[in-house]
Assembly symmetry: C2
DNA sequence: GTCTATACTGTGATAGAC
DNA sequence: GTCTATCACAGTATAGAC
């Protein structure tokens, strides 16, 4: 792997572990056994590393959300949600100190907001599709509030699990998926509701 | 007001506005038109200011949660939630960069975790009380998942509103209360559910 | 209690040799 | 491309006069 890519991967790992503001360029260089000067040969500054990592995250998430084939099966929704959670976990440093991070990098904050907005719209679309298919029963108002809660829970679950249960790895991802699904559960047809219950027990 | 108290109040305001890591002791002193030396006469270091502010937050929240009179009325729950949200808003800097903050101050992180745990237990108790009174219908498992979602939403609503809608003040607090109530809504008796709908329209 | 001046430290970033 | 050396600056904290 080229040095430039190694810098990015090492930065991502350290940012996720300690939080971006707590990781210095010297630490990144040390971890890779290269000199700080070498790091600054490949990147103008620390912000450039951050922006590149954000672009990775952004593209990956956009690719996921651009799928327009919304299946009505509970399993498929579970899988889709799991992919979303994996993306979040992979770039969790973006989610854990948002005010600090976006306060110092407004453009990144704006792009992040656009992602969240896209997630919210996709969630509404999925709910309305499920409703049209009779799998879900809810008023438009209920769907709007539900979508907001789903996005919020997906966004902050990993932070919450870290503070609350001290989890570090990806062990708690399945519980996150379950928590989101349990937001939808009361609006589901009995059949899908039971199916969800079974899946929940299998995964937790 | 004594200088010591003015330091605390000024710090709180600045921490909430810019995030604790982005506020320097020099800024705090400047804002108050005192010298940095004077600030360090009253506090050994920046951490001591943080710890004192956290203690304020902690006591206020504990006072709220120690109420053991759980009314079944939707209005009372709305009011109680509003008080919780006001406490969160008042010390919102604690909620906005948790990983960074608690990474550098583990003891504070532990105490914060205890507060969240207490909130979760109180939420479960309220739900079970409502269930016993027939206002709410849900299995134990549903209540556990619901409580976790309620605490998570309450914890992160203000951060989410800031990122998503750019809100700064307390204007979005009512919507936060509404979002939490909408988590409970599907489990409520029709009567309370309608009442909630009416209240939601009045407040939003 | 409050001020001014200053020391110390860590971090981001650059210059120039190899 | 990579290294060593070094700068510049910001932020924390202290010393000592008033």
């Amino acid at each position: 792997m080229k040095t430039r890519d190694r810098i990015l991967h090492t930065s991502l790992a350290l940012f996720n572990e300690f939080g971006e503001p707590n990781v210095t360029t010297l630490q990144i260089a040390d971890e890779m056994d290269i000199s700080p000067g070498n790091l600054y040969y490949h990147f103008k500054n620390k912000t450039e590393i951050l922006v590149e990592l954000f672009s990775w995250f952004e593209q990956q998430m956009n690719d996921l959300l651009d799928i327009d084939d919304f299946s009505a099966s509970v399993e498929d929704q579970w899988l889709f949600l799991h992919l979303v959670f994996e993306n979040i976990a992979q770039y969790r440093f973006l989610y854990q100190d948002m005010v600090n991070l976006f306060g110092r990098h407004e453009k990144i904050g704006l792009r992040f907001k656009r992602i969240l907005e896209k997630k919210r719209k996709a969630t509404i679309l999925i709910c309305k599709t499920l409703e049209a298919q009779g799998v879900l029963t809810a008023t438009d108002k209920e769907i709007f509030a539900l979508a907001e809660n789903i996005v919020l829970t997906a966004t902050y679950w990993i932070s919450y699990a870290k503070v609350m249960h001290g989890s570090q790895g990806d062990s708690e991802l399945n519980q996150g998926v379950f928590q989101v699904m349990s937001l939808v559960a009361p609006y589901l047809r009995a059949e899908e509701r039971e199916q969800l219950q079974v899946m929940g027990e299998a995964y937790l």
